[in-house]
């Protein structure tokens, strides 16, 4: 035997028979941290993939984080092109060096929008934390009503409204720029202003879809763990889009 793993006696005695229990219905994850990996759930005694709701939540979270890593690369690519384009010029017929970049003035409403988006992240985090509030989770798990949905849904709805408000604010900014005759095709810097705000808005539309799904799930889904996953993943996505926006906004405001 290779020296990596020598099974001990208790290991060998462990029953390997699959009891056809996929872990569903076990105690849902809560915000109560008792320390240790298993937290009293006999986590290690069950194989991966069958450890119950907390594992399922972790799986979805991890998938979302990989997706967000790809998304981050997308924005990194766009931002790299931003810096390349800002510093690129050419020589004209008279051998003069021309850099066509004229910074696009940021409509002041974007500051307000940023504040709204940050606020929406706060409400979303409140919604997310409600989903794991231990007394409520245990109450639901024991079958005593649906306090989780009742307490979380208003915050999700608030986030949804703030998100729509942010998008409306973005639309207002685009309209203000259009009134100043700054369009997508006007200047290299305006290409990037619109490209960045549009792609971010598309991501927020997906996030709004996620929020609506979460809101629907809070009412329709019977399984607490499914609702937790919906809200949790929507929240992490929403926070990431908030963080992305802060960086993109600072880029547009101060680095043109």
């Amino acid at each position: 035997m290779p020296a990596t793993y020598t099974p001990s006696k208790p290991d060998l005695d462990k029953s390997r028979l699959h009891d056809n229990d996929n872990g569903a219905g076990r105690r849902p994850p809560t915000d109560k941290r008792t320390g240790g990996g298993g937290e009293g759930d006999n986590w290690q005694s069950r194989p991966q993939g069958q450890r119950g709701p907390r594992e399922r939540l972790g799986r979805y979270r991890m998938g979302l984080f990989f997706a967000l890593a790809g998304d981050l690369m997308f924005f990194i690519a766009i931002v790299s092109v931003f810096f390349v384009a800002r510093t690129t010029g050419h020589f004209d017929a008279y051998n003069r060096y021309i850099n066509e970049w004229l910074p696009t003035a940021i409509p002041p409403v974007l500051w307000l929008n940023t504040a709204v988006l940050l606020l929406s992240s706060v409400t979303m985090e409140l919604a997310r934390r409600r989903m794991f509030h231990e007394p409520d989770v245990m109450e639901e798990w024991f079958g005593l009503g649906r306090p989780i949905s009742r307490r979380s849904a208003p915050w999700v709805a608030a986030t949804l409204c703030l998100g729509l408000l942010f998008l409306a604010g973005q639309a207002l900014a685009w309209k203000q720029l259009a009134m100043q005759r700054v369009f997508f095709a006007s200047n290299p810097s305006s290409h990037f202003f619109y490209l960045i705000t549009y792609t971010h808005a598309i991501h927020l539309f997906l996030g709004i879809g996620g929020l609506m799904l979460a809101l629907w799930g809070l009412y329709a889904s019977r399984q607490l763990e499914t609702r937790q996953i919906l809200v949790d993943c929507a929240a992490w996505y929403w926070h990431s889009m908030g963080v992305f926006w802060v960086f993109l906004f600072l880029l547009l405001a101060y680095f043109q």
Partner: protein
């Protein structure tokens, strides 16, 4: 295998099991619109088989036109230069994306990966199905570009601007390339979803005892390729978006000032861009893409060489490291595609160094393959032969890599057939040999039958000879100066024409060899169909393999025993000169006696 107390006469992954998993509904529901990873894996393989058939026919048409340009195609008429370039584009796009990316990474990744780590399903079955259908839609969109006005795009699978950004650049650069953009964007989204799924599956769904050090090298290759996919395809998506803006929204990210296309100076809009920007973004994706195509083949080669020579894979931990290192270095070398495109020479030096650095992990892989089979007495099955062929092609194609990695040599060679020879040997042929190896090796899991070994050997010998006869002489015509992407080599009335005319005899030979190579694949198709029709049923573990996908009752594990892993793959006990396989799932307590573990020394 006879030691296993859990032997059942049913192999994992049979059609029957997928039917059972998908629920007892109509066959269309079971095999087409299913979330069962094995059925999805089979769908990917069918998609890749269709793509490879089309791609091969296109390549033969290209060869025909190069050698006999005056020949008229039936139902088509004379082959115009733009037709030739459309053939180049669709051939490259099909082969790179829809064959060499889907088949090893998503096809076998779905069929084999979950069982190899002891998982019963992928982490997100529904997303898995969606990503297949997105990729299938991408294929339909790509192929539909042939039927729009202007036909298919003519700017190659790399779609360099300004040719790709300006509709007036040629036929096919209008609607054709818009469809190409849509197709590749869909493909990028589908591949990213499928890679996320694979990564989470490996991180979160491994069975008991399947530690990271015990993962088969195929799994390491799959997750390395998945990580590359997530990083690279996102950047490609951004690049495609910018190209779309250049085409339709009057931007000029890639369009330089004073750009003359077809004799017309383009003056509209601000022109501050550079085609180099596309090259940077595209090759930041494109080079990792090459490794996405070849890494699964590398992992499989290690496992198959070990399995059939009854040896531990030499320096197992080092092979894991080199897999990751090749993936990591693969992100840092994109500039070597741009040496002659106007890249800063200092950047060229940096990219040259990082490119030559890849020779270190690649050479370590080759040494491990050779050391694994060195003085063993392997059983020369078809899967083993194709793995040997993979090693051979990897070495032959790899040796021209450090040559092309030097900017000064690349200056002369870059736009010649030398590069075509290089990447066809190391990526296309080695990749395809890896795929064939996988097909012969895993066919019992795919269809519960074994492919015919005699026909397989004929297929192997023909393919190896055909591959070398086709692509080795291309080095010579390239050195003689034959350029890439030229639709015509004859009737050019100057010194260059004389030079090209001198390569024609060799080119004719290449064309005959290409037809021979393609004809040999008919043996494989015949073998496939004959075996599916009335091939012999395979035993549960016909190759006496040690990895978990051959666990005798994996398909029954809904109610049976969960697999537990006790050791690394490719472990053997040697008694009286006989090597006895110690599969990963055999409990050491159930082994008859303490085996001699002379094969286990090293880095475990």
């Amino acid at each position: 295998m006879s030691q296993s107390p859990y032997l059942r006469r049913e192999s994992a992954g049979t059609l029957a099991s997928s039917v059972r998993l998908a629920g007892r509904t109509s066959p269309i529901r079971c095999h087409l619109f299913t979330t069962d990873h094995r059925a999805i894996g089979r769908l990917y393989l069918w998609l890749a088989l269709l793509s490879v058939a089309i791609g091969t026919i296109l390549s033969l048409l290209m060869r025909l036109h190069l050698t006999w340009p005056e020949r008229v195609l039936p139902f088509h008429g004379p082959v115009l230069p733009e037709d030739y370039l459309a053939l180049v584009t669709i051939h490259g796009t099909l082969m790179l994306f829809f064959v060499l990316t889907t088949a090893p990474q998503s096809g076998f990744g779905n069929l084999i990966l979950p069982s190899q780590i002891g998982a019963r399903r992928m982490a997100f079955p529904l997303i898995n199905a969606v990503s297949f259908w997105v990729i299938a839609a991408a294929l339909v969109v790509l192929l539909s570009s042939t039927f729009v006005p202007g036909g298919s795009p003519i700017s190659g699978w790399t779609a360099y601007p300004p040719l790709s950004a300006v509709p007036s650049a040629g036929p096919g650069q209008g609607t054709g390339i818009d469809l190409w953009l849509a197709s590749i964007a869909l493909f990028a989204i589908g591949s990213t979803m499928s890679s996320i799924n694979q990564l989470v599956t490996v991180v979160r769904m491994r069975c008991e005892g399947m530690t990271w050090g015990r993962l088969p090298l195929t799994v390491w290759a799959w997750i390395t390729a998945s990580m590359l996919s997530i990083l690279a395809f996102s950047v490609l998506l951004a690049a495609l978006l910018l190209l779309f803006c250049d085409r339709h929204l009057a931007t000029s990210f890639y369009l330089p000032v004073g750009d003359v296309v077809n004799g017309t100076l383009r003056a509209a809009g601000s022109h501050n861009g550079s085609p180099l920007l596309w090259l940077h973004l595209f090759w930041f994706f494109g080079h990792p893409e090459v490794y996405i195509a070849i890494l699964p083949g590398m992992g499989l080669t290690s496992m198959i060489l070990g399995n059939f020579s009854r040896r531990r894979v030499f320096a197992y931990r080092t092979m894991i490291t080199t897999t990751l290192l090749i993936g990591f270095l693969g992100i840092l070398v994109w500039g070597h595609h741009m040496f002659v495109a106007g890249l800063n020479p200092f950047a060229g030096t940096a990219f040259s160094i990082s490119t030559i650095a890849i020779a270190i992990p690649a050479a370590a892989k080759v040494l491990s393959w050779l050391a694994t089979i060195w003085r063993s007495r392997p059983s020369y099955t078809t899967a083993f032969l194709f793995s040997l062929g993979f090693v051979s092609l990897f070495i032959t194609g790899g040796l021209s890599g450090p040559i092309l990695a030097q900017p000064i040599l690349d200056q002369y060679l870059h736009n010649t057939f030398f590069v075509v020879a290089h990447f066809h040997l190391i990526m296309a042929m080695a990749g395809i040999f890896g795929l064939f190896s996988a097909t012969y090796y895993w066919f019992p899991l795919l269809a519960n039958r074994t492919l015919h070994e005699g026909l397989g050997r004929i297929h192997f010998v023909g393919s190896l000879l055909g591959a070398y006869a086709t692509f080795l002489p291309m080095h010579l015509t390239g050195l003689a100066g034959e350029p890439r992407h030229y639709a015509q080599l004859t009737s050019i009335p100057n010194a260059a024409g004389d030079l090209l005319a001198r390569t024609l005899p060799l080119n004719r030979g290449i064309t005959w060899a290409a037809f021979f190579l393609a004809g040999t694949q008919l043996v494989f198709l015949a073998n496939l169909l004959l075996t599916l029709w009335r091939g012999p049923r395979s035993s549960p573990n016909p190759w006496d393999a040690t990895t978990l996908e051959w666990h005798p009752n994996l398909s029954e594990s809904d109610f049976g025993l969960l697999p537990v892993v006790y050791r690394e793959p490719s472990q053997y006990a040697y008694q009286n000169g006989e090597a006895r396989a110690l599969p990963q799932w055999i409990d050491p307590a159930l082994l008859p006696s303490a085996p001699s573990t002379s094969g286990d020394r090293g880095v475990s």
